[in-house]
């Protein structure tokens, strides 16, 4: 990675992201990698607010705010227009949260990538509807408290595996990334930038407010998600070629869960079960990557 890539900056200070906001770190990284020739489609998400209220913008690139469910479609239009105007250099980036990706924007995303629209779709995943006040999404992990999964009704369903869904579309590039691994993230964003067709980045972005963690822990927690195999770092080319980018030394999930208020109700038994689920997913991934028979 060239050092000047890490040095350049496309996010202004003075934005209203919460202290320790992982989504903001993710945005800084991705824009550093993509550079100034980037146009952003921004469907409803935390970043709709962080990006600034009229007449202010927190971003140094052009942004089109879009309706919640239109991340894939709006980008399709922007790309088409740029092509018609002869601008093939500019990268079109959709920047969406997990709600706008896994749930309400799922159709438009699926439609866009099925058409292999030439754009990058980055989903920064904070695992719930954080902007509206921590409601569960299909990205909310098993075991989590949210304001719509309270008390005994904590979420007892798995998180949707969005990357595998995208992979099933056989798009040129789909990758996971984490704010705790900047070099990996920047490399993937740059790699995506240099490709054509639909490219998908699933970026793990911790949320101190919604996860009930101290703001200074947000990167640490994101790192632990990778270290525990809860959020493995990997990339898939053409829906076929899997590469696992980081092989953790099999840390236990327990520590990750214990540090977060949203999981504080979980018993040891629950955590054992979650550990099993994580192991299962990891084995599955290893098989896909051809590292297990």
């Amino acid at each position: 990675m060239q050092t000047d890539v890490m040095d350049r900056e496309f996010v202004h200070s003075g934005h209203v992201g919460c202290p320790g906001c992982g989504a903001t770190i993710a945005m800084r990284f991705v824009l550093k990698a993509l550079g100034e020739k980037t146009m952003m489609v921004l469907p409803a998400c935390c970043w709709s607010i962080i990006a600034g209220s009229y007449p202010q913008s927190a971003l140094k690139i052009p942004v089109i705010h879009a309706a919640f469910e239109t991340g894939g479609a709006t980008a399709t239009g922007v790309r088409a227009a740029l092509d018609m105007l002869g601008d093939t250099e500019t990268t079109v980036l959709t920047w969406a949260g997990d709600g706008g990706t896994f749930d309400i924007g799922f159709q438009a995303l699926s439609g866009a990538v099925e058409r292999n629209e030439n754009f990058i779709y980055a989903c920064y995943d904070n695992e719930a509807y954080m902007n509206t006040g921590i409601q569960r999404s299909s990205s909310t992990p098993y075991g989590a408290w949210t304001t719509t999964t309270t008390g005994r009704d904590w979420k007892k369903l798995r998180k949707k595996n969005i990357v595998e869904v995208l992979v099933a579309h056989r798009i040129p590039y789909a990758a996971t990334a984490s704010i705790a691994y900047p070099e990996d993230l920047l490399r993937k964003a740059q790699k995506a930038k240099n490709m054509k067709g639909s490219r998908f980045l699933h970026i793990y972005a911790s949320c101190p407010t919604g996860w009930r963690i101290p703001s200074e822990m947000s990167v640490k927690i994101a790192r632990m998600a990778v270290q525990t195999n809860i959020f493995p770092l990997y990339e898939v080319e053409d829906g076929l070629r899997y590469t696992i980018n980081y092989k953790p030394r099999e840390y236990l999930v327990r520590e990750y869960f214990r540090l977060q208020g949203r999981f504080k109700h979980l018993t040891d038994q629950d955590l054992d079960q979650i550990q099993q689920m994580v192991n299962e997913d990891w084995e599955l991934l290893l098989r896909k990557a051809g590292e297990r028979a």
Binding site: G52, I64, A66, T76, G77, A80, A108
Partner: protein
């Protein structure tokens, strides 16, 4: 050059001539013929445009919002359910001040499934900030579509060109299709007043607090007012080039009319027949055809109706719990003028049912024979129904 075209094809010809750059569409009957032709034009290189085969009407409008913001001329067509699905983004397009043009083929809303004409779909979008033009025949469809681009881009508001399902969309008529040079003389190339630009980055559609939102809405209101004036100017320019003019309303034999029908769309043509018969029998009838629903030409309507003794508005739509929507609009236009004529509301042709000259004559008879409307709306042609046991 005169060609015999479907209403759908008239739209497509206009879109080709307007040199639209991005077209996005999702199939829905009875709009499909419009985009089928456009898709083919793009494939054959008869148009230099990108045709986006999106996965829903919602995404269709979202894609146009993206494309138009990025700085190109755009077009789509839809109908009924499709328009209803777009609803959220219709607000978005006008709020974002995007001059998108759409052909909307009026189709009844489900359930039960009904693909035939009914204006409730487009009238339900009355408050979305779109300019709406209702057309009567193939020529008007073509001409209005060309004018729509000009008008939309003049005031930075989206325009919906509305045509009746089948009666217009699938009906072949001779249509004068102008040459490209003539259209180019009329319609200037698209120059965006703003666009996504990496050299001048700014954010479009951010959070707007109460301190500014109201002024932004007021500017849309002003643009709508302006659109009425610009519509006239554009019609002048169009008439100078092509020698055709429609007006925001068309008054047919209204000068001495005592009872004036108010109509829209193809129903107007049927009414023209009925009018001939009535006039032949010495009845002092007239027709006021409304083309523009938004901006609503209040002044012209008051002007045209002020001499009438009675007004009979025929609505191929219905607002449940209120009445026919054009009737409400006309009443609202008149209510503050002294000694205005009573407005009789008639509901006819819902869900594609035929409206015959006889039915219109019956409407005339009922209006003539009543001193005042007995109720808000009179449903015409209802039959006995058989209920399930």
């Amino acid at each position: 050059m005169k060609r015999v075209l479907e209403g759908s094809h008239a739209v497509a010809e206009a879109v080709r001539l307007a040199k639209v750059q991005v077209i996005s569409a999702y199939p829905i009957t009875p709009q499909t013929h419009i985009v089928e032709i456009l898709s083919e034009y793009c494939t054959k290189g008869l148009m230099n445009a990108r045709f986006l085969r999106v996965e829903s009407e919602h995404s269709c409008m979202a894609a146009l919002i993206g494309a138009q913001t990025a700085g190109v001329r755009t077009f789509t067509a839809t109908s009924g359910q499709g328009l209803a699905l777009m609803h959220e983004l219709l607000h978005w397009a006008s709020g974002a001040r995007l001059p998108i043009v759409m052909a909307e083929v009026n189709r009844a809303l489900a359930p039960g499934w009904n693909i035939w004409v009914d204006q409730t779909d487009s009238l339900a979008q009355r408050d979305t900030g779109w300019i709406q033009m209702y057309c009567e025949d193939g020529q008007e469809v073509l001409d209005s579509t060309l004018q729509a681009f000009y008008l939309a881009e003049s005031v930075n508001l989206p325009v919906m060109v509305v045509l009746d399902a089948f009666y217009l969309s699938h009906t072949y008529e001779p249509v004068d299709v102008p040459g490209q040079e003539a259209v180019d003389r009329f319609l200037p190339p698209y120059v965006p007043k703003f666009q996504l630009d990496t050299a001048h980055p700014c954010g479009f559609g951010p959070l707007v607090a109460p301190g500014d939102y109201m002024e932004m809405r007021y500017h849309i209101a002003m643009a709508m007012d302006d659109a009425l004036i610009r519509f006239g100017e554009i019609e002048d320019a169009f008439a100078a080039q092509f020698n055709r003019r429609y007006g925001p309303v068309e008054a047919i034999e209204c000068e001495d009319a005592e009872i004036i029908f108010v109509t829209t769309g193809t129903l107007t043509s049927t009414c023209r027949l009925a009018l001939q018969d009535l006039r032949a029998k010495g009845e002092k009838a007239g027709i006021l055809k409304i083309k523009l629903l938004r901006p609503f030409p209040y002044e012209r309507i008051r002007e045209e109706l002020k001499g009438a003794k009675k007004v009979a508005v025929i609505d191929r739509n219905f607002s449940f719990g209120a009445g026919g929507i054009f009737a409400q609009e006309v009443r609202a236009a008149l209510c503050n003028t002294p000694d205005h004529p009573p407005v009789f509301g008639f509901i006819a042709g819902i869900g594609g049912r035929d409206v015959t000259p006889e039915m219109l004559t019956e409407i005339y008879r009922q209006t003539k024979n009543s001193d005042a409307p007995q109720k808000e709306s009179v449903w015409m042609g209802l039959h006995e129904v058989k209920y399930a046991d």
